[in-house]
């Protein structure tokens, strides 16, 4: 039996050691306060810039006017809300299953070397500039769609390019959350002769739920916020689309297209579209919160 000199072995620790956790918490609080401040600053900034036109024409003008034509003082943003919503939804609906399947593939189907190669590939795709995606969409995808149904620049093209762009986000986040599924579950499932698919659908996916949810949130954010690529392939016509082949304009494309030339009220109105976008996201965040609460 090991006979210690108890007192000298565990000397009274210094103040810092006793206070370590305390300091840590306050350090962390400070850091997250910075993160919080950024959000408030951005919100405040958007509000400040949007205020002039809001004061002049009121909020309802942005939903009731005949069209978006800031040069002629009409500011209807509704078609662009549709544009944003539809491209985002289409892309998320496509990318989520594709991304999750990709991640499952890496984890449970692909042999090691293929899995890590595939992961590398996906990581790369996360970093290709949106211009490049847009460029590719414009010179490859749009002419293809044009052959199907002119003009080619369309909601469909937007959804396709966005899907490619957000796929890495969901794939990588899903991949990381599958890595954390306790192996006992898999062992247990295998021991009962469950099929791979049954194991994945009933055990792996539910246990990775919160990670997948994060992935969906992040990809949705990226889909909503994406600007350049969408601007290049969507056609940017301000209209509520009747079909997937119709051109649409998203709120972000609206800002990017016109901000460089906008003055006074027009400029201010573009900030309203930014604010509105934020509004859309806040609504989604609240929805996500409710879903999350429901689930837990």
């Amino acid at each position: 039996m090991w006979k210690p000199k108890t007192l000298s072995l565990f000397p009274l620790r210094n103040w810092f050691k006793y206070r370590k956790d305390f300091l840590l918490v306050w350090l962390l609080r400070g850091l997250s306060a910075i993160a919080g401040i950024v959000i408030l600053l951005i919100l405040g900034f958007l509000l400040r810039e949007a205020l002039p036109v809001l004061e002049e024409v009121g909020i309802t003008a942005f939903f009731r006017d005949d069209s978006w034509n800031p040069g002629e003082k009409s500011y209807n943003l509704v078609p662009m809300i549709w544009g944003t919503g539809l491209t985002m939804m289409g892309a998320v609906l496509l990318a989520t299953p594709l991304g999750i399947v990709s991640a499952l593939f890496c984890h449970y189907y692909a042999p090691m070397p293929i899995a890590s190669l595939y992961r590398r590939l996906i990581e790369l795709l996360a970093g290709i500039p949106s211009v490049v995606y847009g460029f590719w969409g414009l010179v490859v995808l749009v002419p293809l769609i044009n052959r199907l149904h002119p003009p080619g620049t369309s909601l469909l093209a937007g959804i396709a390019v966005l899907t490619l762009m957000i796929l890495p986000t969901i794939t990588l986040v899903a991949d990381a959350s599958f890595a954390k599924v306790p192996p006992e579950y898999l062992m247990g499932a295998a021991a009962m002769g469950l099929s791979s698919w049954g194991t994945i659908w009933q055990i792996v996916i539910p246990s990775a739920k919160s990670g997948l949810f994060t992935g969906v949130i992040l990809e949705t954010g990226r889909a909503i916020g994406e600007t350049m690529a969408v601007l290049m392939v969507c056609g940017n016509v301000v209209q509520t689309p009747d079909s997937i082949f119709d051109p649409v304009r998203t709120l972000t494309a609206n800002i990017a297209l016109e901000m460089a030339y906008a003055l006074d009220n027009h400029r201010s109105a573009l900030f309203v579209s930014g604010l509105l976008l934020l509004g859309v996201i806040i609504v989604l965040a609240i929805a996500a919160e409710l879903v999350d609460r429901e689930a837990s």
Binding site: F45, Y109, T214, F271
Partner: protein, 289 residues
């Protein structure tokens, strides 16, 4: 038994399961071929431009001729500033949310949702904000610093969310047994939780770097358009992505060099990702074993 890395492929499969597995191979195949298509286009267009001179000389004739040396330097500096600022803030916030804020706590929920909102703010709005706040209010002007700080705001939600996911996936047993040994939360965090959460952190890092290095709209208004070799962080510097954007959308006859620059960007990304995963692997090893 240590089972992490279980593979289902090792089981042989029958019936419906076989069909589903085929599907699981099909999707990556499609995704891969699509991406090889895109990457192939870039490589085909860019490989001809790629040589030592391209990397070491300044652009000429608005980028149609010459190389990208100053742009490469600016890009790396902007990315450096972005990561130096966003990593500590991001990881710190993630730790606070995952380890020190109960799940149902209203504050935690509020911060999380605010971050989700931040993740959806379009990059051009970040650009205008960065221009108004960092460049004007804080007086940093068009500079690498302004650009890096703006990007830091952009990648923050990605970093935080991914790190947090990594942390919350660490088994509760580790926390319990560590606490039962009277180990402080700081040490538990450093020696147990963070190493175990590195895969999540790495994903955040890779996605964040990807987003930062690919960013155009936010940088036009902050780090600027100047393609001179920067001499300090307060100099304006053009990033690769802006260069690519300018060459392909604004400069007639710039496509070839745009492809060349895109290829360089991808190679840099490959390198950075490799370094990041190497370092994180090393980190989790040195702390774990």
């Amino acid at each position: 038994m240590n089972l992490s890395g279980l593979k289902m492929i090792r089981q042989n499969q029958y019936g419906l399961d076989k069909v589903i597995s085929l599907f699981f191979w099909l999707v990556p195949l499609i995704v891969t071929s699509l991406f090889i298509w895109i990457l192939g286009d870039i490589i085909r267009g860019g490989i001809g431009q790629l040589n030592w001179a391209f990397l070491t000389t300044a652009p000429l004739d608005t980028g149609r001729q010459g190389g990208i040396a100053p742009i490469l330097v600016s890009t790396l500096l902007i990315l450096g500033v972005c990561l130096a600022v966003s990593l500590p803030i991001g990881i710190g916030t993630a730790i606070l949310l995952a380890e020190f804020t109960p799940n149902h706590n209203w504050f935690g929920r509020l911060v999380r949702r605010s971050l989700d909102v931040l993740a959806g703010v379009p990059s051009i709005v970040f650009g205008l904000f960065g221009n108004a706040f960092f460049a004007k209010t804080l007086g940093l002007g068009f500079s690498i610093l302004s650009g890096g700080l703006t990007l830091a705001c952009m990648v923050l939600p990605i970093l935080i969310r991914a790190t947090e996911t990594g942390l919350s996936a660490v088994p509760q047993e580790y926390r319990l047994s560590s606490a039962s040994l009277g180990i402080s939360r700081t040490s538990t965090l450093w020696h147990l939780l963070l190493p175990a959460a590195t895969p999540g952190l790495l994903v955040g890092l890779v996605l964040g770097i990807g987003r930062a290095i690919a960013e155009t709209a936010a940088l036009i208004f902050t780090s600027g358009y100047v393609d001179r070799m920067p001499t300090s962080l307060l100099d304006s510097g053009r990033s690769l992505s802006i260069h690519i954007f300018d060459l392909s959308m604004n400069v007639t006859g710039g496509d070839a060099n745009a492809y060349g620059s895109a290829l360089v960007l991808i190679l840099i990304l490959l390198l950075i990702n490799a370094i990041a995963s190497y370092l994180s692997g090393k980190y989790s090893k040195t702390l774990k074993v």
